[in-house]
Subunit: 284 residues, 2 copies
């Protein structure tokens, strides 16, 4: 059976991402931190890891970019999950009874306006996980408290949903990467579609010279390779120099992309392909 | 008297940045959050705000990039502060007595290796501020607890320093921006040095088309304007589209930079100059 580690409690969106990617027969393995997920994949305690790298409202999850660089894992897939938030309370509790709302800080931030309209007086309390906040509420059984999590927390912890879809902005999606010790085999050129529909993630650094980022992007632009994302992170030990994480459309083994990477390698001081993987579709 | 708002308690590095920039006669105004600092400057409750935007190890402080976009303030200066961490305990307390260390999560992260060597058993506790952790310790007076903060917390809260320079990596600098309601006047061309030694920060977005970031950087590269930083943030309401924050060497009123900005404006869907300001020197 395929085992996929994720950060959080059962019912977290990272677990949902594992089901969306692998199907219902995967065995998700809840872990306390992102570091644990990377460690577990690297040391073969599980087959895959599923970690969020970007939310369409909150931006990148930088810790996971740093961990990609620190470990030698391969990205073998991506999955995009629509994020919806639900307000949980004990059976019989009404909105007017609630003086305290707990969840992960990101869920609290993404429901801020809705909460200040519906529960202006309620105190916010940050806890370590969204699904974990429902688990805590089911244990504490406090009638003055609500928790915010995804829909699956309801089945798992047996609490009713008081309000659904309380996120402020409906264009709320999180992109997850699937990590493995081994890369996926390159698609055969005879396969239908060949290498179309792939995406590649790389990390690179260049000498700190005027125009170096422009020259790096030229390697792709001059060959019509489309960049979908760029993220900069500090280069440790060299203040105000950067590592760049780049995603582009295409497979690293495609001739055009291969030439772009060769061109970049002429002046890059660091260059690593993190993986080529089928592009995710946006959920409904 | 000049009043400059900062986030944190007296003794925080943001307060140090205000002293480094304005000199000893500034009156720093401690505020609970970055949002409060921006609000106080915007509503003229104070003259300036001083906020961190980037640490050479931890990377950008993204909340402050988002707040720059949300408010119409001007960047009028930058200052770089060397970050050193000090371990505080009550008088007479020895390393062996300590079972609990508290500080802001960034200070705990930046002293992680040193702490796990010196205090392998001690539990870590995250609090809202570094200087605030020393303030709390001075109030609690617990002999089993240490706190981590900068040097100035010692004078302010009357606690002795048990260990100095406990940061794992000595190349630890934070870059702060100074914010005002009004831009600084453009330097006169007759002034010695003219517009050299200036830096400009902008934010822009383009249509989501292949090669658009490359074209944007070309506006600068083709004129020899040197980029010092690029940061991407999500464009709210448009999943997987981005706002780019760019710093470049030069003044926005310099002819060459002006032309680069005009060129960028031909295809940018958003373009705002956040400020031109004298470049900071690196501290010893």
């Amino acid at each position: 059976m395929t085992v996929a580690a994720f950060q959080g409690e059962p019912g977290a969106y990272s677990e949902q991402a594992a089901f969306d990617f692998f199907g219902p027969r995967v065995q998700p393995l809840p872990r306390p931190s992102f570091d644990d997920v990377f460690d577990d994949v690297a040391s073969a305690r599980c087959d895959f890891g599923v970690v969020p790298v970007e939310n369409s409202l909150g931006g990148s999850i930088h810790r996971n970019y740093d961990l990609l660089m620190r470990h030698n894992l391969h990205i073998v897939g991506e999955v995009v999950v629509r994020i919806r938030w639900y307000l949980y309370a004990l059976p019989g509790v009404q909105l007017g009874d609630i003086t305290r709302v707990m969840s992960h800080w990101q869920a609290l931030a993404q429901t801020e306006h809705t909460l200040s309209r519906l529960l202006p007086q309620a105190e916010r309390e940050q806890v370590y996980d969204t699904a974990g906040s429902v688990k805590m509420l089911a244990e504490e059984r406090r009638g003055d408290t609500a928790a915010i999590a995804g829909k699956r927390a309801s089945e798992l912890y047996g609490l009713p949903i008081l309000l659904e879809g309380i996120e402020d902005d409906p264009t709320n999606y999180t992109r997850f990467l699937v990590l493995s010790r081994d890369p996926i085999p390159s698609p055969s050129p005879e396969r239908e579609g060949g290498m179309t529909g792939y995406k590649t993630s790389i990390v690179f650094a260049t000498r700190n010279e005027p125009g170096s980022l422009f020259k790096s992007l030229a390697a792709f632009a001059l060959r019509g390779v489309d960049l979908t994302k760029i993220e900069s992170r500090p280069l440790q030990g060299s203040p105000w120099e950067y590592l760049f994480y780049l995603d582009f459309g295409g497979h690293a083994d495609d001739t055009n992309c291969r030439r772009a990477l060769d061109h970049l390698s002429e002046f890059a001081t660091v260059l690593r392909v993190l993986g080529s993987y089928p592009r995710a579709t946006m959920p409904q």
